[in-house]
């Protein structure tokens, strides 16, 4: 096209659009992010006697990464995130009970159940901010009320909970949880380094502007929503498999959402390692203090949230970046963060 040929002559050297990109993580760092947490849990399982605690830590790591996908990369904060976890737990339970599938396949049903719920709830993405948060919370409550309804006892076992003792296998479900950690970390790495992840960050910045960059905003948001739901559904399914007996109020509990959100925020959303570190550290503290002395844990938790909001809105990742930038300044460097956690991507 002559017009373009003329336009080409207007410019000089390289196309700015294909220039160097800040924020991509290197291949070794990507591999480390995917392998190290999973390897850590495998090693911990050898030396640490409480396997259930490790599984729960992995479940929360995955949930925190799921929050990272939907909040860190698109800005939607779902207070009803536990709904997908519960849908996953029941997806696995019902497929095992009625279709007699092996639990490994049940995890696939868990993912499908959560994704179906997410598709049904996708109109919520039309809402913003606090309205979205509240609507997602209400949707989860509605789902809980349906599942735990005594009238549906014949199907869901109602409020009396389900028993999956026939497929109970702590080692197999532990391995499934490790595999899921690998998947969750890989998703975070993908979002940090892919065209899709960059698109989500663009949308989070300004949806109208992103549309005029040619982005299909609605489809991208929906894709992030479904990925986030799939992670929570798989986590719920593996939780159900590992514990084998649970009640609906345990898997639709709002505190699951709150934990996942706080873990992700503590570590730093929009990053690869932040939510994982947040889950490991805070869930570790919870197990050390929270179970024996729950009142102290609540106190620590409350103080932590206040401190986070006031002084560390970027979480641990933000702190690391700040320290590295400060160090570079003192050294007389460029002042640019060289943190493996990457530059800040969102306002969370």
């Amino acid at each position: 096209m002559p017009r373009l040929a003329r336009l080409r002559r207007l410019g000089g050297k390289a196309n700015g659009a294909s220039g160097p990109v800040v924020g991509r993580i290197s291949k070794p760092a990507s591999v480390a992010a995917i392998v190290v947490p999973a390897a850590g849990f495998v090693v911990a399982n050898i030396f640490y006697p409480n396997q259930q605690e490790l599984v729960m830590m992995m479940v929360y790591l995955v949930m925190a990464q799921g929050i990272n996908v939907i909040y860190g990369f698109t800005g939607y904060l779902p207070f009803g995130y536990a709904g997908f976890f519960g849908a996953g737990a029941y997806g696995l339970a019902l497929s095992v009970m009625y279709l007699h599938v092996p639990a490994e396949l049940g995890v696939v049903f868990a993912i499908v159940a959560a994704v179906v719920v997410a598709m049904l709830l996708s109109p919520l993405l039309r809402l913003d901010g606090v309205y979205f948060a509240i609507a997602s919370l209400a949707a989860t409550e509605a789902l809980y009320v349906v599942i735990s309804n005594p009238s549906l006892t014949a199907i869901t076992k109602g409020p009396y909970g389900v028993n999956l003792i026939a497929v109970y296998n702590s080692n197999a479900s532990f391995i499934a949880a490790v595999a899921l950690v690998i998947v969750a970390m890989a998703v975070a790495v993908y979002l940090r380094s892919s065209r899709f992840g960059l698109a989500l960050r663009a949308i989070r910045n300004d949806a109208v502007s992103a549309e005029y960059a040619g982005l299909r905003v609605v489809q991208h948001r929906a894709a992030a929503w479904l990925i986030s739901a799939a992670l929570a559904g798989a986590a719920g399914g593996i939780f159900a498999w590992y514990t084998s007996t649970f009640y609906p109020d345990a898997v639709f509990d709002t505190s699951i959402s709150i934990f996942a959100i706080v873990f992700a925020l503590f570590g730093g959303v929009g990053t690869v390692w932040g939510p994982a570190l947040g889950a490991v550290i805070l869930f570790g503290i919870y197990n050390a203090v929270g179970i024996s002395e729950p009142q102290y844990f609540q106190l620590i938790y409350g103080v932590l949230i206040v401190l986070l909001v006031l002084f560390l809105p970027g979480g641990l990742a933000g702190l690391a970046r700040h320290l590295v930038a400060g160090f570079n300044r003192i050294r007389g460097g460029a002042g640019r963060s060289a943190s493996p956690l990457g530059p800040r991507t969102g306002d969370g």
Partner: protein, 234 residues
């Protein structure tokens, strides 16, 4: 005369009972520049918003290269070959300048590709690694323009590029617009600064209260009694 690249016909937009735009028609040829002027609230930005697909029109049609656009959505308008800038710059703030362009290049530019350096063209060369929210307002406006250019538009709607720029920056901006027109891009330029507009075009469309009151040369516009009354009062 060749077929117009952009044809706007009897375009109207109302918000509830308020008629923001009423029966505007305009044709733009390849490489042609038309200034869109009018007092505050006359419907200039609304016209850009409707033409670029942000709002669906209440009446009328927009055709680009002979194909109707049916009022958006914006990403489809962009992929069809039309883009815009914003009166208040809308940079993707927590992305770097390079990433701002990379998003547009990856999603907005379909078959056509732009091989020139849009950053150099708009005077932002060397700032690829800066975060967009660390740029000043003038630089952010230019980044908006560069992002739009990466999508290789045939038609570009420029919303008050000149506002807030220094005299030297205004000269640069006018030079950039002239280069784009020379490269064949049709431009619809919303502007309050007549001196700036005179440097890029001699043809204007004047709006008042959503209605087109004049279309013709800038020279004639300043002598048109209705235009004079709208701008200077009775």
């Amino acid at each position: 005369m060749a077929n117009p690249i952009l044809a706007i016909s009897d375009l109207a937009k109302s918000f509830g009972g308020f008629i923001a735009l009423d029966g505007v028609s305009l044709e733009l040829q390849e490489g042609e520049v038309v200034g869109l002027v009018g007092p505050n609230g006359s419907g200039k930005t609304t016209l850009i918003n409707v033409v670029s697909g942000l709002y669906a029109p209440s009446r009328g049609t927009v055709t680009l290269g002979g194909r109707p656009l049916h009022g958006g959505p914006p990403h489809r308008v962009v992929r069809s070959g039309m883009n815009r800038t914003f009166q208040v710059p809308k940079s993707l703030g927590t992305l770097t300048v390079g990433e701002n362009l990379r998003v547009a290049s990856a999603h907005g530019a379909q078959r056509r590709t732009l091989e020139g350096d849009p950053l150099e063209l708009v005077g932002l060369a060397g700032l690829e690694r800066r975060f967009a929210n660390s740029l000043n307002a003038s630089q952010q406006k230019r980044l908006d323009l560069a992002r739009a250019l990466v999508t290789a538009p045939q038609v570009l709607l420029v919303d008050e590029l000149g506002a807030g720029l220094s005299p030297a920056e205004l000269d640069d901006a006018a030079g950039v617009l002239r280069k784009l027109a020379a490269a064949g891009i049709a431009l619809l330029v919303v502007e309050h600064l007549m001196g700036f507009l005179a440097k890029v075009t001699s043809r204007v469309l004047v709006l008042n209260a959503g209605q087109q009151i004049f279309q013709g040369s800038l020279e004639e516009a300043v002598r048109d009694p209705q235009v004079v009354q709208v701008f200077l009062g009775g």
